[in-house]
């Protein structure tokens, strides 16, 4: 098998540069690439565009990059959990493109799949549709959306093997599989890295062909955003 392992997050981030476009997996704080985000902060990479469903919270996730003003533009579907984000957006320091969540997922998936454009009904008749081709299919209006282009995709999986095969857990899966192979270089961090041949080939969510670099992540905080419980 082709070996995709790199020693650590630093090696995994080789080649990142100011002005690049990054995809980052996760929904809220669940399934976010914590190690990669920490490395981006540490390296101080600037003027980046981030494609990510959310923007983290003030002091975790992508909020850490926002604090350091490293992000030029966010492409997201929902950004409502972050005061610093709101401040930068309303003051015009931060460019924000809000797009429907399903369109966000499908534009990643389309990039992975070599589908440059597709039609969706989402957003027709709204400001999301402005400047986009509209077309009727089966008596219903749709708009043309394009595949994303990104330099790096940073994803987080539960288990991975040295060949780059990935398995996700629970709802931490979310956008992560759709971003694999959707950028020039896909960097996967995993909670448990195992030798190729350990994972059941029927259970692999993302084959290693979509992953260029994989490493064993460290010190996952896995912070919970809304702890809701019931009494026993």
């Amino acid at each position: 098998m082709i070996n995709k392992t790199v020693a650590n997050v630093s090696e995994a981030c080789e080649g990142i540069a100011d002005g690049m476009t990054f995809m980052l997996g996760g929904f809220g704080l669940s399934g976010i690439p914590e190690n990669a985000i920490a490395e981006l902060v540490k390296r101080g990479v600037k003027n980046v565009t981030c494609i990510s469903n959310n923007a983290g919270v003030d002091d975790f996730g992508l909020g850490l990059l926002l604090q350091k003003r490293q992000i030029k533009k966010m492409i997201s579907s929902y950004v409502g959990e972050n005061a610093e984000f709101e401040r930068q957006m309303l003051s015009g320091e931060l460019e924000v493109e809000l797009i429907p969540q399903g369109t966000l997922a499908q534009r990643c998936q389309a990039a992975q799949s070599g589908i440059p454009g597709f039609y969706t009904p989402a957003g027709y008749g709204t400001e999301v549709a402005e400047g986009k081709e509209a077309r009727e299919f089966n008596g219903k209006m749709h708009i043309l959306e394009h595949a994303f282009k990104a330099d790096f995709a940073f994803v987080k999986a539960w288990k991975g093997d040295t060949a780059g095969n990935l398995i996700f857990k629970g709802t931490a899966r979310n956008f992560n599989p759709n971003m694999c192979g959707a950028a020039t270089i896909t960097v996967a961090e995993v909670e448990e890295l195992v030798p190729a041949g350990t994972l059941d080939p029927n259970h692999i969510h993302i084959p290693g062909i979509f992953v260029q670099r994989i490493f064993q992540g460290e010190r996952y905080e896995k912070r919970i955003e809304q702890r809701t419980v019931r009494k026993k």
């Binding site: 929904f27 809220g28 704080l29 669940s30 399934g31 469903n53 997201s76 579907s77 929902y78 950004v79 409502g80 959990e81 709101e86 957006m89 309303l90 924000v96 809000l98 797009i99 429907p100 969540q101 399903g102 369109t103 966000l104 997922a105 499908q106 990643c108 998936q109 969706t120 009904p121 989402a122 957003g123 027709y124 008749g125 709204t126 400001e127 999301v128 539960w158 996700f168 857990k169 629970g170 709802t171 931490a172 899966r173 979310n174 956008f175 992560n176 599989p177 759709n178 969510h205 896995k222 912070r223 919970i224 955003e225 809304q226 702890r227 809701t228 419980v229 019931r230 009494k231 026993k232």
Partner: protein, 218 residues
């Protein structure tokens, strides 16, 4: 007496039929799950990637890898499944979800809905709402009839940026149950003790009132 949020949810729960896959938005819609009859089988989909969502976990059993679209910790029922975001919206866009219940800031009498943005003031994003309202065949809006300033949220035309066009089918507010018919609001039921006159007053859009309007029965 206008309905409480719980009562709005309780009334909407009556629209949930056996065998339905249901997507619940944040806020009042989330409460609907508590009122669904337990002699029918229903599965809740959360667009972040679970079908067969269960109640909140017991204290100490929270799993950061198991949340709903509101980022709350949840559980998975036996028979649940997890999937990625693209597949989740295949369920939604592909019209496999039978019923979508969501909140709104404004609903227009042609079925337009606005619930994601107040220009210059509140810009949280549409999340999955635009996909949901553009695709679902059966959309129920749960909301208060008027905003905090007392202005009607049921309008001739939306003033806020739209989430979707011509899509809302039914609305349950604290005052009544309405259906969108021929580009008007048709009054179906009223909250116990609330008069048709009160509803008319609180509704900016055109209201159709045919015959006697029964009180909501839970």
């Amino acid at each position: 007496m206008s309905l409480s949020k719980e009562q709005i949810a309780q009334r909407i729960a009556k629209e949930v039929k056996d065998g339905y896959y249901v997507n619940l938005g944040i806020g009042i819609p989330t409460l609907v799950a508590n009122f669904v009859r337990n002699d029918i089988e229903v599965e809740f989909q959360s667009e972040n990637g679970i079908l067969g969502m269960g109640p909140f976990p017991f204290e100490g059993e929270e799993d950061p890898d198991l949340i709903n679209a509101g980022k709350q910790t949840i559980t998975a029922l036996p028979g649940a499944s997890f999937f990625d975001s693209a597949m989740s919206f295949s369920m939604i866009r592909g019209q496999h979800v039978d019923l979508t219940i969501l909140g709104a800031m404004e609903v227009a009498q042609n079925g337009d809905i606005a619930n994601w943005k107040i220009p210059g003031k509140m810009v949280k994003g549409m999340g999955g709402a635009m996909d949901l309202v553009a695709s679902a065949e059966n959309i129920i809006v749960a909301m208060m009839h008027t905003n905090r300033a007392g202005d009607s949220k049921l309008l001739k035309a939306c003033s806020l940026p739209l989430t979707g066009v011509n899509c809302v089918k039914k609305i349950v507010t604290d005052l009544c149950v309405l259906e969108i018919v021929d580009n008007q609001f048709k009054l179906l039921e009223r909250a116990p003790g609330v008069t048709v006159e009160q509803i008319k007053e609180a509704t900016e859009g055109d209201l159709i009132v045919e015959g006697t309007i029964p009180e909501i029965v839970f």
